[in-house]
Symmetry: C2
Subunit: 325 residues, 2 copies
């Protein structure tokens, strides 16, 4: 199968809202008046972001999900995406599964594939996603104010727990592993929550490298500090809380590692002023996405992780970095 | 050097026109009223699109140039781009050269880097480029009409000639190789020509896989055929014509192969009605880019390559396909 037959079979679908989709030199989008276009790109590499034996359907889901998560963090409504794909060879069942997983999530968010590129090479998936947000209403990293509450959505740490088990570092019972693995491989981008938080959250980002490291980006961009309550964060771990997974009794150190520096959570972390507490809970209900307060923004710079007694914890939490040793 | 220090050192620059650039979850663009957004993505893989020992400066240029060439083919004015980069390791001189080459071309076209992603992996460069075009004025592949002239810009075939020499298939004198290699490694996206052809060209695309194959996309999208004059095309080969390179006497078969199925030309191929001939030449002068008529669109389907006597040539010209054997 040649390049153009491959595109036609697996990736070319009529567009609904875009002016022009797959098949010309460029795709064409017509943004609505008063809307800004939000753009994000993520590149996924085998062995780095996913295992070689991952189900292609879940990989198709995840490749788009991590991009939609960036739109969610900006409060943008998904519109369209482009897909660039380097493939070692044309593997029909793989392409079938990958495209099905990707399009199922795309359709759920009304986000259409408008263009891309395919080439031969080591497996590499690069998606660029486009969303729209009313001018001036995008959620940025730079708006956190001292006194603001710090929230996280959903559950943290389960993706990292699955990774530790899959790497053979820890043992999880099969049912717990399956539940945690679901969180690692099929994250749910919090798009409805992101758009519901427009005008309410003072800052936001999505959690991809771990809470402590990612929250650090908000602190840096907003020139503030924060106090993070470790036990409130741990309580958000589904595997511990018996949430979507199975309640487990895990060593506290492992819980802390997974929740504070886990990575691959794809939940939102956001801040909001104290007078917005009701509005935050209303947005949470409207989006059918739980949110929990896990700390507070401080004028004093730096991030303090404190225990239930308010004592600072000594340990440092390294977030994921692609180029650190 | 970590991921964020790498981005800050080599890729983070203040944006001029975008609402928000590198450093948040999304970039934000504010399209002007009445404008549509043109989007294109190209992925470049080592060993496939470039040699391992290519000068990183020329690679940075080419990675952006092939994307700008897609905007040119749509008649869009470049605005911004995102860059996703998988790197085997952090190589400071390589990153310095790559970013310099990329930004030099970006600055020449007023196109700013607004976001991206970096990860560790086999070298892979994926750029997504954004341009604007007045609604309804984009140049598409689907507008060619029987009787239209077929034009190509600049010179064809020299990039393929360089590739054949670099692969050791043919010998070129050093000066000729240097000139041809310049065309292979540093293509000039025909942005000024593309925008000048709005309202004049009936269809357009950029030549990346070879004239015969690429023109086939116009024929398919427009449901027409074409007659292509082989000698007119050969006359556009700089190495033969003594253009930017050095005049060479090459076997006719090699000339035909390079010009008709060469690939990597990054020139524009477009069609225009006969009554637009003066307008086409005016656009060519305004854009300071030569254009030449090399054939005609026919109602009869299929592509006939003819010699100087108008006789159909028997040989088939295979264009480049990433997944063909």
């Amino acid at each position: 199968m040649g390049e153009f037959a491959l595109i036609a079979q697996y990736f070319k679908r009529p567009v609904q809202r875009a002016v022009l989709g797959v098949g010309d030199d460029c795709a064409l989008l017509a943004p609505r008046p008063g809307m800004q276009l939000a753009i994000s790109t993520d590149m996924l590499v085998q062995g780095r972001h996913f295992f070689a034996d991952v189900d292609p359907r879940t990989l198709g889901h995840k490749a788009l999900a991590v991009n939609l998560s960036d739109l969610a963090a900006t409060g943008a409504q998904p519109l369209a995406f482009s897909l660039a794909l380097a493939l070692p060879s044309v593997d029909a069942p793989w392409l079938q599964g990958f495209s099905e997983g990707m399009f199922a999530l795309a359709d759920a968010h009304g986000c259409e594939l408008v263009g891309g590129d395919t080439t031969q090479g080591p497996l590499n998936i690069c998606i660029t996603v486009f969303g729209e947000v009313p001018a001036g209403q995008a959620l940025l990293r730079s708006g956190a104010q001292p006194g603001d509450d710090i929230y996280v959505s959903g559950h943290l740490g389960d993706a990292r727990l699955a990774l530790e088990a899959l790497l053979g570092h820890i043992y999880l019972p099969p049912a717990a592993l399956a539940a945690a693995r679901q969180r690692l491989e099929s994250p749910s981008p919090r798009v409805a929550l992101g758009t519901a938080l427009r005008g309410i959250a003072s800052s936001a980002l999505d959690l991809s490298d771990g809470l402590v490291g990612d929250l650090g980006h908000i602190l840096q961009a907003s020139a503030v500090g924060a106090e993070l309550q470790a036990d409130e964060v741990i309580a958000r771990m589904a595997a511990t809380a018996g949430g979507p997974g199975v309640a487990l009794s895990l060593p506290r150190d492992l819980q802390l590692q997974c929740c504070l520096a886990g990575g691959d959570d794809y939940e939102l972390c956001f801040t909001a002023a104290a007078h917005q507490r009701d509005a935050v809970q209303q947005a949470s209900r409207a989006a059918q996405t739980p949110v929990h307060c896990v700390g507070r923004i401080t004028a004093e710079p730096g991030l303090r992780v404190v225990d239930a007694q308010g004592q600072a914890m000594a340990q440092r939490w390294a977030s994921f970095d692609h180029f650190s040793a």
